[in-house]
């Protein structure tokens, strides 16, 4: 009796809540750390990037206007769903990174915990970063935080799940929407994460995930005039310079790659949230 033929999964892009193939029709082979064929992944083009930006822009008004409580609940829901697919992520990480099952389990758990951590920030970051300012006059003066807008994210290459979650969560928890270029080498967890996001009450377009070549796609995002910020965490030095220069055209906020290798298990701090927050100060007279 012959062995049952496995049904292989097709990995596509994640744009506007849907899973399209690349408009370019391109795909590339994803191999395990041992060099074995794992799957074909879509190789996103600049036009896919453009579609993703349009989707992210469309999602921005609703997502940024959602209550912080609601955004926190949705991020928590993502954590729940990720936990529910723990086994799948563990095996993908084992394949992709060649780590042992136990280590992979730790990384998945850390990703879940990271989401829970950020979920709790949704309705607190404003209190930490906002202020009532004691101006020298009869004015009520209040500074509050607002999301920057559409953020293009070059996800870390080396941490396909924990790193990915660690760059997406802080961007969206405050109300930004994003277009993420996933790890080129190990894109499969990103698409599985997309499946989690798609089933977690997260509105379509809040997170858009592109697989393929960061060097090819990221400069288009960095130069896109309807993108408000870029997170270059996963860009190599050369790509980072290219993107930062392109980002200058419309004065995008730029989060440069870390100067030392990132430790994704460490306390993330608030920097990844505050990098994509604007401070708005409102004045109003006080009088009868």
């Amino acid at each position: 009796m012959s062995e049952r033929l496995a049904v292989r999964k097709t990995y596509k892009l994640f744009i506007g809540g849907a899973f399209p193939r690349s408009e370019s029709g391109r795909s590339y082979v994803v191999s395990s750390s041992k060099g074995e064929f794992l799957a074909n992944a879509s190789k996103a083009s600049r036009k896919d990037a453009r579609e993703a930006v349009a989707a992210a822009r469309k999602a921005f008004p609703g997502w940024s206007a959602a209550t912080a409580y609601n955004r926190g609940q949705i991020l928590y829901r993502v954590a729940e769903m990720l936990e529910g697919r723990r086994g799948q992520f563990v095996s993908e990480l084992v394949d992709a990174d060649g780590v042992g099952v136990r280590k992979a389990g730790e990384l998945v758990d850390a990703a879940v915990d990271r989401l829970v951590w950020y979920a709790g920030w949704s309705d607190k970051i404003g209190a930490i970063r906002g202020s009532a300012n004691p101006v020298a006059g009869p004015y009520f003066n209040l500074s509050s935080t607002e999301p920057t807008g559409v953020v293009a994210v070059v996800a870390p290459q080396e941490a396909p799940l924990l790193g990915l979650v660690s760059v997406i969560a802080p961007v969206i928890v405050t109300g930004n929407t994003c277009v993420v270029v996933a790890s080129e080498r190990a894109p499969l967890p990103s698409i599985t994460l997309a499946e989690v996001l798609a089933t977690s009450d997260l509105p379509g377009g809040v997170v858009n995930i592109l697989t393929g070549s960061a060097a090819e796609v990221a400069p288009w995002l960095a130069g896109h005039m309807d993108v408000n910020a870029v997170d270059l965490t996963g860009a190599d030095a050369e790509l980072a310079v290219t993107c930062e220069e392109a980002a200058a055209e419309n004065l995008k906020r730029v989060l440069r790659p870390p100067s030392v290798k990132a430790d994704w298990l460490a306390d993330p701090g608030t920097e990844r949230m505050t990098a994509f927050l604007e401070t708005k100060t409102v004045w109003h007279p006080i009088g009868t």
């Binding site: 006059g137 004015y139 007279p285 006080i286 009088g287 009868t288």
Partner: protein, 330 residues
Amino acid sequence: MVSLESFGLVGDAGAVSTTTAPLAEVAASNSTLRAFLHGLPGVDRVGADARAAMLGTRSIKTTAKKQAIDLAIRMVDLTTLEGADTPGKVKAMCAKAVHPDPTDSSVPSVAAVCVYPDLVATAVQALGSSGVKVASVATAFPSGRSSLEVKVADTVLAVAAGAAEIDMVIDRGAFLAGDYLTVFEQIAAVKAACGSAHLKVILETGELSTYDNVRRASWLAMIAGADFIKTSTGKVSPAATLPVTLVMLEAVRDYLRTAGRKVGVKPAGGIRTTKDAIKYLVLVNETAGPDWLDPDWFRLGASSLLNDLLMQRQKMATGRYAGPDYFTLD
């Protein structure tokens, strides 16, 4: 419309119809009045204060200051409103009103003297044909807490005694209770009782408290027939302030545009120095406009101000600082 006859005491004042007054239709009922007054643009206190303060920084020097001082003197309603007022006191004040500085005949007379009704006759006699007018407070000044009959009678008697101008107080209680029609009817009745005398309506802005109320009361008074709107009795603090006067100047400016009738403004109380007086003139100049810079359209209700104006005037003429011993205390 308001039936003046119904108040009984207005027969002698003549039947002055308010139905032809501009905007008379808004006084058809309390609700139409309310709708109109609350439909006026609001006044932001901080913004109004800031504008008045900025105008207060205008630097009026040399020829402009000289011109301003003489104009301010001509705008003074020289006032005594004390329980202890006597004919002697009023006569002395009248002498000063006509010749503020007996040593300098180039000093103009003031616009008017302002006294209680029982001293009007004394003032009329003292001023004779000097051209200085006699103004009398009336209508149960300063509280205004009496019946309409008494207020009208108060007015009629003051006019009969020779007062050319009546400074009435509005019923602040009625205003604050939202009973605008009562306030309107009382002003209209007193206006009718004034006959040919000019009516200045005192809003007592210190009791109205908000600038929104000042604006509404200004319009209410103008619609009811006021010839002048006046800030204060001088018996309530705060009395005149620059921003309150600013709001009232905006009201007369806008009323002229809307209704085609020009109304004067009189800040009163607390204006003591030349510097203060000049700030008011700047306010008039840059708010209602230079057309109001005339004693017919702007007055300063004051007593001690006059001597400071005289001292500043002398300083400008002689180059020396003046001393109070050289100016009369009447």
